[in-house]
Symmetry: C2
Subunit: 231 residues, 2 copies
C-alpha cells in the first residue's frame, strides 16, 4: 500500500494524536483503511446515503454541506489534509450521512470502519482505548462547533453574523488584522446569506469605519462597534 507517504499527514490527524509515526504505521495495518481519490466536484459522501466509515483527508480540500429539501446548502466546514469527517456518525445510532461532502479540489481520503476503531480486529491491540479517547475528544469538539453554528444561524441580521464571525476570528488569532479562511462565496454559504448581500454589508461596515479589508485580508478598526453589532 502507498500509505507510507501519508504517515506524515496522519500523524497530524486528531485521531492519532499522542501516537508516534511508528505506532501509526503499525496501527494502519490493523485498521485496514480504504483510500479513495476524487476529482473536484465529486462527492466523498452524499446526504441520505449509507455510512461506510470514518474519513480522514489525505490530500486536497473538501467541503461539508448541509442541504435542506429544496437543495439550499449551507457549508459547515472546510476539510484539509489531516482533518477527520464522519466521526459523529461512527458512534451514533444514526447510520445515514446527514451531510454531503464535496471535493473542492482533486483530493484523496481514507476510510476506516467503525468496528476497526473499537477494536474488533481480534488481536485486541492495546492502543484501541487511546483511539476511542481521541474519538471522544473529536466528537466533543465537533458538537461544540455545531453549537456555535446554531448560535450563528439564530442571529438574524447579516451585520450581526459578520460581526460575530469576525470577532471569533479575532479571538482565535488574537490580532485585529487576519486572513479569512474562505472566499466570499464560501463565507456567504457559511453564514447562510447570499453572496451579494454579504458583499454589500461588508462594504457598508467598511464605509462606516468599523472594518477594513482587501480580498481575504481583514482588519478590525473599531472593536467596540463590532461587539455591539454581534447580536
Amino acid at each position: 500500500m502507498e500509505l507510507e507517504r501519508y504517515i506524515e499527514v496522519l500523524s497530524k490527524a486528531e485521531l492519532f494524536k499522542g501516537f508516534s509515526k511508528d505506532e501509526i504505521a503499525l496501527m494502519i495495518k490493523c485498521l485496514e483503511p480504504k483510500v479513495k481519490a476524487y476529482q473536484k466536484g465529486n462527492y466523498l459522501a452524499i446526504a441520505g446515503e449509507k455510512f461506510h466509515g470514518l474519513g480522514i483527508m489525505l490530500e486536497g480540500e473538501a467541503a461539508v454541506y448541509k442541504e435542506n429539501m429544496a437543495g439550499n446548502r449551507v457549508m459547515m466546514v472546510l476539510l484539509k489534509p489531516g482533518d477527520v469527517f464522519g466521526e459523529i456518525l461512527a458512534f451514533s445510532t444514526e447510520s445515514l450521512w446527514p451531510v454531503t461532502v464535496e471535493a473542492q479540489q482533486p483530493c484523496k481520503a481514507l476510510f476506516i470502519s467503525r468496528h476497526k476503531i473499537v477494536g474488533e480486529c481480534g488481536r485486541a491491540c492495546p492502543w484501541h482505548r487511546k483511539l476511542i479517547e481521541n474519538m471522544l475528544t473529536m466528537v466533543s469538539e465537533r458538537a461544540i462547533a455545531l453549537s456555535r453554528k446554531v448560535e450563528y444561524l439564530s442571529i438574524k441580521s447579516i451585520r450581526g453574523k459578520i460581526s460575530a464571525y469576525l470577532l471569533e476570528q479575532y479571538k482565535k488569532t488574537g490580532k485585529t488584522t487576519f486572513m479569512l479562511p474562505m472566499n466570499r462565496n464560501a463565507l456567504a454559504d457559511f453564514l447562510n446569506v447570499s453572496r451579494p448581500s454579504l458583499s454589500r454589508e461588508m462594504c457598508n461596515m467598511r464605509d462606516e469605519g468599523i472594518i477594513d479589508f482587501h480580498r481575504a485580508s481583514v482588519r478590525i478598526k473599531d472593536l467596540e462597534a463590532l461587539k455591539n453589532m454581534a447580536q
Copy 2:
C-alpha cells in the same frame, strides 16, 4: 456516603448503560463523585465559568439556558433525575460552560471529574473503556440532535419553517389533523420568527387551501403542496 440511595437513578443514566447496579455501586467508589444540593434559583453551572466535571441529576429539576450577547436567555432543555449534562464539555478543549444551568426546584446533582472517567484512578479498573464508549455514544447523539437543529434554522422562509414543522407533526402523529403542542408565541419563538409574521403566513396558507386551523388544532388539506414548501 449516601449515594446508595441513588443507584436506582444512576442505573437509568445513559452514562451507565450496560452496567448492573452492583457494578455501578463499585464504580462509584472509584469515580469519587461530588454531590451538591441546590435551592430553587441556584446555579448548578454558570455560563462563562470554569467547568469542573460531568453532571448527573439525582433529584429535582434544573433548566439549561443559553444566553446570547444581548442577555436574552432561551431555555434549551429541562433536566430530570438521571439526565446528564456537561458531557460535551468534559472532553473538549473548551473549558468554560457555554450555558447556565439553574435549579427549577430544590435539587441534587452529582459531578464526576473528567480524569476519573478516563481512568486515572491508578487502579486501571477494567470498566473505564466501556464508560468511555458510553460517553462517545452520548456525545455523538447530542451532536446529531444539534445537526437537526441546524437543518431547521437554515430554512429561510417562514412558510418553509411552518411547512417543515407541520410535516414533522404529521409524521409524528401519523394523522393530518392534530393539536399543536405550543401556542403561537412559543411556536414563533421556536421557529425563530415574530409572532404576527407567523400568524400572517399561517393565514395565507389557509387562504390558499393548504391547511386549515382553529387555535391549536391544525388540519393538513394539501399534503403535496406542504411538502413542496418545506424547502
